[in-house]
Amino acid sequence: MYNRRLSLFLIVSFLSVPFPFSTLAERPNKRANQPMPREALDLSSIPYRIVNESFRETKGKENWELCIMNADGSNQVNITQTPDIDEMYPHASPDGKRICFVTDEWRESGKVRSVYYMNVDGSGRVKVSDHARQPCWNPSGTAIAYMKAEFEEYTTKDYATRGLFIYDLATGESRQHVNEDLHHLYNICWSPDGNWFLATVHGGMGFKHAILTFPAAEGTVYDLTRFWVKGCRPEFSPDGKRITWGASDHDICTAEIDFTGEAPTVRKVHTLIHCQDEWETYHADFSPDGKYIAFSYGPEAEEIVGGKAPGWNICVADMDGNWVQITTDGLQNKEPDWIPTAP
């Protein structure tokens, strides 16, 4: 009943949205609902790398580690190698020299999720905050935004957050965003011009579930639902003029976003990837040149940070919707993030 009702709601919403699709040609691309043969895309010349989380054996023990590889999946290296600490949710700094991420560690008081950053080779680990999650970089790489955990007790629930904080790498101090009501947000993403955030909200701030955008220095919040931007885990393109997000378990969308008017607007919503029903796609991220999107793909599983996802791999798509798997080990590979530098 609820699926039928949801479908009807989606159809009615689609019909009532004021021209979200500019032309019929931009409607969902259903060309490939599963990965194309590996040779369908030549990724070997892409001068960037990808970092992702992976559940794999290190020193005889399986846990979450961060791995870096070339854009075609070659030369994969485990950069953390810490069998007693789980590292997840990596995000590369704009200059490609550092990575911020979350850890799950056992302390005397129990399991704690924290935010750290380190050099891209895994050295020089610095703690940003305990009881924190969902970090991302500012465009200059001098600050990390993160969400504080709603509770000190450990949970993997992505929306268990309250308060957005900005950590200054130079001083080691954090300050709270001017809008102190920000809560139940996850997957925050800082715009390349530094002026805006994108995030998903769930059951908070007066919203049911929505993708929001809000200024980095003001309290206003804008709901992008009316532009048919529905789902979760939005990310900016490197020029800040496009966004990508997961519209469902099976769809990755892109659209143009415009911040030049009185309020942000979105147009040209486009389904870039649609996978078969028994499989899922999540965690889309634009390449530094905006020509590709990396994402995770695998059989139905838990996409949340720390959620088990056996059989998941990292894929890369071009902007025509052609996509290939770049990992094949199925070691719960998730949360890919492009590193804008060559090895």
Binding site: M1, Y2, N3, R5, L6, E150, F151, E152, E153, T155, K157, D158, Y159, A160, T161, H184, T200, H202, G203, K208, H209, G231, C232, G246, S248, D249, E300, E302, E303, I304, G307
Partner: protein, 297 residues
């Protein structure tokens, strides 16, 4: 009968007969009255007892009994009607409120925020996790394995009701369309649904109870059950404490919600929902209430 002359034997007999008649009439009236009262009690036995848990939650102690499950004139998935023995169990008298959910460190996913409103927009796994947290808070053994999310029905902690337990509790021995009869005209006094809810949830316990004292079984939020949903499950359902199919992609949701039509509020109406562990897919028409097996010592 009045007379000025001396009383004859007939007069005395006549007066005594009147007294006897009156006495017999009184005895008959008393007897019939008692019989009627007794018959009324037989039709509506007292509701089962309500207990208050260590967490301060009211639960109805549901007696064991046979359930005529399903509805031959309902949807296809409600057939065939079949008998199932339901062992005694405890079930929350009210849907789990946001205040109650918030006693444990879990983020409240509800869309319609208000402490006494039912928790809504919750996925199945979070509902099951709440059951475990509530068990731990009362020193009981959690029913759910948090890796596999299988339910141990022999554990003494809290869990989601089975679909059969839910319908048994909703019907409360009735065999009618709703727990109060067949007519939709009384639904507004028993449930928050599409016609009267104003597109949102409401504080629990504002509508009339069913015969066993449960509130909001027909509306406010629909409720997660433990079972996987399978349309044709009734054809093969066991006749003792059915626990649902061993696997599936959806879990059972029972009872109407603030968005339901009267048809979807029926006691036997079945549906499944796929928001088992996915935040994005959670539905603000779905909440839950907790159950607990009454295990033999």
């Amino acid at each position: 009968m009045d007379t000025d002359g001396p009383l004859t034997s007939w007069d005395i007999f006549s007066r005594e007969a009147d007294i006897y008649t009156a006495l017999v009439a009184l005895i008959l009236c008393f007897s019939v009255g008692c019989q009627r009262k007794h018959q009324k009690n037989a039709e509506t036995p007292p509701p089962p007892p309500v207990i208050t848990t260590d967490s301060g939650i009211e639960m109805v102690s549901v007696p064991g009994g046979w359930l005529e499950m399903g509805n031959e004139s309902g949807e296809l998935d409600e057939r065939p009607v079949h008998r199932a023995w339901i062992s005694p169990f405890l079930l929350d008298r009210y849907e789990v409120t946001q205040e109650s959910y918030g006693r444990f460190p879990m983020p409240d996913p509800s869309h319609f925020k208000s402490p006494q409103n039912p928790c809504d927009q919750i996925n199945w796994r979070d509902a099951a996790e709440h059951c475990n947290r509530r068990s731990q808070a009362e020193g009981l053994t959690p029913c759910y394995d948090e890796e596999t999310w299988r339910c141990d029905f022999q554990a003494n902690g809290y869990r989601l009701p089975t679909e059969a337990e839910w319908e048994y509790a909703c019907r409360a021995t009735t065999k009618t369309t709703y727990c109060f009869g067949d007519g939709e005209n009384l639904l507004e006094s028993h449930a928050w649904f599409k016609t009267n809810a104003g597109d949102r949830t409401h504080p629990v316990g504002q509508k009339k109870t069913n015969p066993w004292g449960f509130h909001d079984m027909h509306g406010n939020v629909a409720e997660w059950c433990n079972d996987f949903f399978q349309e044709d499950y009734y054809a093969s359902s066991p006749d003792r404490d059915p626990e649902g199919p061993s696997q599936g992609k959806e879990r059972v949701v029972r009872g109407g919600s603030w968005a339901s039509t009267p048809n979807a509020c029926r006691s036997s109406y079945r549906s499944g929902a796929s928001s088992i562990d996915d935040t994005c897919l959670a539905d603000d028409t779905i909440g839950f209430r907790c159950a607990r097996s009454l295990l033999e010592p």
